[in-house]
Amino acid sequence: MEIVISSNTSKPIYEQITSQIKALIMSGELQTGDPIPSMRAMAKSLHVSVITVQKAYEDLQRDGFIETTVGRGSFVSASNRDFIQEEQQRKAESHLQEAAEIGRTSGISLDKLIELLTLFYTEEA
């Protein structure tokens, strides 16, 4: 398992951790039941504070990607990938809906919105 943290982007470190672990789970590199490092071990190896990793893990747990058992550590959650994907898609849909509405009411063209979305999608690979 590999995580790359950049210290000079505007993206907070906890978000960098969550998005990379999510990507590892969605790509299948991390399988259901796989253990993920303890918060303290990860904080040490990334040279970040424990609270930063804690926040990342809490977000992952809230979104159903991992499960944490006291005394045993954190594991990739049993809920299946399709379900997570569907869930994430629903989330994206609602944001896009909002964007479309803003576009419609303030006269931003569909092409412009598509262009923007393409830009954002390809920007942060």
């Binding site: 303290r40 040490k44 040279h47 970040v48 424990v50 609270i51």
Partner: protein, 288 residues
Amino acid sequence: MSSAIEVRNLQKSYTGFGLQNVSFCVPQGSIVGLIGENGAGKTTTIKAILNLIDIGGGEISVLGSPNKITKRTREDIGVVFDDICFHENLSVSQLGKVMQGMYKRWDMALFKQYCQRFSLDSKKRVGDLSKGMKMKLSITVALSHQPRLLILDEATSGLDPVMRDEILDVFLDFIQDEQNSVLLSSHITSDLEKVADYIVFIHQGKVIFSLTKDTLLYQYGILRCRTDEFKQIDKDDILAYQKKDFEWEVLVADKEKAAQKYKKCVIDHATIDEIMLLYIKGVQQCEG
């Protein structure tokens, strides 16, 4: 989560200087950074915690024992000050033996292991070590009696970047055990930006803020604007401000909100250094 150190309404007055109602806590398993300019009261606070000075008022509890540091808690605390107070004529290995007699839980193997890790020559006299090496020795001694709590006052100041990184590694190693905690004061805020969980800022004997580091780094921001824009800013949004020759700098607690509200202004990330500077040199609107 219980606290390793809890300071409540600490008072101490000297002529011309004093601590006023200093309160903060060090939760177990965390690293807390104490920042502030020279003479702000950091060392006085640490001395009060260690029961080295009489306090004027308030309560301090360390590792669960209120107010007085007992013999037992003294074993549990590793302390590093900015100057070393070991006897100059002892060699490093002799010092290890002296310390073995002082602490019940002294671990000689651990001491030797740290000496090796920090490349401290065991035959060298303490007096012949450079300032940085003395600091490493001091940290080695503090860690070798297996404390639960490390208290360091300006411990990383005399060290080069490589060594500072190694010391941070040691701290992070230390808190792998959730029972252990670290309180350190430092001028080098970039170190704290890496490892600290909480930041406590002391200015003129008062605590200005005590927050998680992530709140400071990801929510606080510095807004830069022109005079007429400055006049339109809601006073409640301003934590501190400073007028420069060509612009106004304003510290805001929530940069996302500020970015939406004041679209014309530039909003930057705030580093701990910048936050400190604005609070000290700027005008404070309200205390956060």
